[in-house]
């Protein structure tokens, strides 16, 4: 169990004002936040690296805040593909084992085992720069796993990969990470990662904790518009209705003739179409409702005329009121 206490990710608050959070072993906690929200600082604080973030870190009921990063049972994978350029893939993966003083035969067996789990067993004799980006990141992940640390930090590990590679590696990662009894912290700015990988979700905004919990619970009951916005793709639609303020997700706005709305209580809006984009599978219609910018996401190819006024509706139950 990993606990962080009195955490201030920007290092700007007086002591005692920081937040606390508990990460459980055997679970993947996805830390979601925009750029500059302090995701990387949180990782660096836990790993004991140089950072502006302040706070105390407890691992399995022992405080490790003052412990040198060499002696913490923490491993980390960076966003950039970082490997030792002058060592082979096998030496790279075996590096933490070497530091632990494990003899060569045992080390080689462990390296071969981990390499096979990440399907890089054919490249063990090569150097990192001879591999593709995806393979380089696999090597970095393999090295992090080889350490068998109690905490594994993944700082946006897949963000530099193209999206097909990312999806393939994501599925593999989920199975791989669940197989161990490790605390896994996975930072991302993509809400899809929260649902595909996360057992737990921690939302950060401007260096502060916004909300935490199971991804579905956070999705259903966000504490405020920022929390809701972090989980929305691409953004939320703010509205005023009968003197109350609320917001709607793009996927919850429908054209008025949509069958899903039949026989249920709805709120109607008038949307002036500004722009449309489609990828064939779904379409995004951008428009304006009562002075606010809206976007709706609908299935299939929808192309209302630009500048036209269309009637849209939303289920009352889908509106989140603040």
């Amino acid at each position: 169990m990993l606990e962080v206490v009195d955490v201030d990710l920007k290092g700007a608050e007086p002591a005692g004002e920081g937040f606390a959070h508990t990460f459980l072993p055997g679970e993947i906690t996805v830390v979601l936040g925009a750029n500059q929200s302090g995701k990387t600082d949180l990782c660096r604080l836990i790993a004991g690296l140089n950072t502006r973030a302040t706070g105390r870190v407890w691992l399995d009921r022992q405080e490790i805040s003052q412990l040198d990063s060499r002696r913490r049972s923490v491993s980390m994978v960076y966003q950039a593909f970082i490997n030792y350029p002058n060592l082979t893939v096998a030496q790279n993966i075996g590096s933490p084992l070497r530091a632990q003083g494990i003899e060569l035969p045992a080390r080689e067996a462990r390296v071969a085992d981990i390499a096979e789990r990440l399907s890089i067993q054919d490249y063990l004799g090569r150097f990192p720069h001879e591999l593709s980006g995806g393979q380089q990141q696999r090597v970095a992940i393999a090295r992090a796993l080889a350490k068998q640390a109690r905490v594994l930090l993944l700082d946006e590990p897949l963000v530099n990969l193209d999206f097909k590679l990312r999806e393939a590696l994501e599925v593999e990662l989920r199975d791989l990470l669940h197989a161990s009894n490790t605390v896994v912290v996975y930072t991302s700015s993509d809400p899809r990662d929260a649902f595909s990988l996360g057992d737990q979700l921690l939302l950060l905004d401007g260096g502060k904790k916004l909300q935490s919990g199971k991804p579905i619970d956070v999705y259903r009951q966000p504490v405020d518009a920022r929390a809701m916005g972090l989980l929305a793709d691409p953004c939320i639609n703010e509205l005023k209705h009968e003197a109350r303020e609320g917001a709607l997700r793009p996927e919850h706005v429908f054209f008025a003739d949509d069958l899903a709305l039949r026989g249920r209580s709805c709120i109607a809006f008038e949307l002036t179409v500004i722009a449309c984009e489609t990828n064939g599978d779904e379409s995004f219609v951008h428009g304006e409702v009562a002075g606010a910018q809206w976007v709706m996401r609908c299935d299939g190819i929808r192309r209302p005329r630009l500048g036209s006024r269309v009637s849209v509706k939303a289920l009352e139950q889908d509106v989140i009121w603040f």
């Binding site: 923490v74 970082i82 030792y84 933490p96």
Partner: protein, 268 residues
């Protein structure tokens, strides 16, 4: 047509560059009589007598030894001092780091002649005069700042994440520095070695002033080879050929990284 013209220009320019080297080599293989005699492109009666003289006469081969020893000491000291310094400049921010870094380079702006007198008097006073260390230390004043500048450029290109990763893997700093960081930067170190070597090897003014009878470097002996019978052309040329060779060797080893070195490591 165009390709042909540019190729001929290239060949002509190559010949132009090569000509003085060829002439030096050809003089080294001739007798004095041949050199001052009738013009001929090729040596009339090639002889290795000039080279033999250098390898037999202690004045000559000791001069080479003296030069090589202070150049080697200088290169070693420069690298030993500049590698840690450049690492710190590339990894840490501290009060006055930028000013200190720039001040290092300003040392390069002073001509060596400025330091002649202080060095000469100081070294005479503390008994360092006429030792290889005297010239080596004096040259360090110029080679250390240059080395720090070159190495810092290369070192900054290595992501700090690599240092941190080694930390998290549990490696000591010493292990990381010698097993990972220095091997990764071996090209940079080679280039720096080349610049130190080249400065120290061809520098004449400080070397002449700070060396006495015991430590005459080759550049000094070469400029003084005037005997009663006049200049010994062939012998001088042979010494010139031997002086060029170490430089060629060093360039050969660092040729891949040399361009980046001239840009002080700041080419991505």
């Amino acid at each position: 047509m165009n390709v042909n013209v540019s190729r001929w220009i290239l060949v002509a320019y190559g010949l132009y560059l090569f000509l003085p080297l060829y002439w030096l080599m050809s003089m080294a293989l001739r007798t004095n009589a041949d050199i001052v005699g009738e013009f001929s492109v090729f040596p009339v009666a090639p002889t290795l007598a000039n080279f033999r003289e250098i390898f037999v006469n202690p004045v000559w081969y000791q001069a080479f030894g003296n030069s090589l020893s202070y150049v080697a000491i200088n290169t070693l000291i420069s690298l030993a001092v500049a590698i840690p310094a450049a690492y710190v400049f590339s990894r840490y921010r501290f009060l006055g780091d930028k000013q200190l870094f720039f001040w290092l380079l300003t040392n390069r702006m002073a001509p060596p002649a400025v330091f002649l007198l202080p060095f000469f008097q100081l070294y005479s006073a503390i008994g360092l005069f006429d030792t290889p260390l005297a010239v080596a230390l004096a040259h360090c004043l110029f080679t250390v700042p240059l080395s720090v500048w070159i190495l810092e450029g290369f070192f900054s290109g290595v992501p700090t994440e690599l240092d941190e990763m080694a930390q998290m893997d549990g490696h000591s700093f010493i292990y990381y520095f010698f097993r990972v960081f220095l091997p990764v930067n071996r090209g940079a170190i080679g280039v720096t070695l080349f610049f130190c070597f080249m400065f120290s090897w061809v520098e004449l003014l400080l070397a002449r002033t700070l060396s006495g009878a015991e430590t005459k470097p080759i550049v000094v002996v070469m400029t003084r080879t005037v005997s009663a019978s006049g200049l010994d052309w062939g012998l001088l040329a042979a010494a010139g050929v031997l002086t060029v060779i170490p430089g060629v060797l060093v360039v050969w080893f660092v040729r891949k990284h040399l361009v980046k070195g001239f840009a002080l490591g700041r080419v991505s």
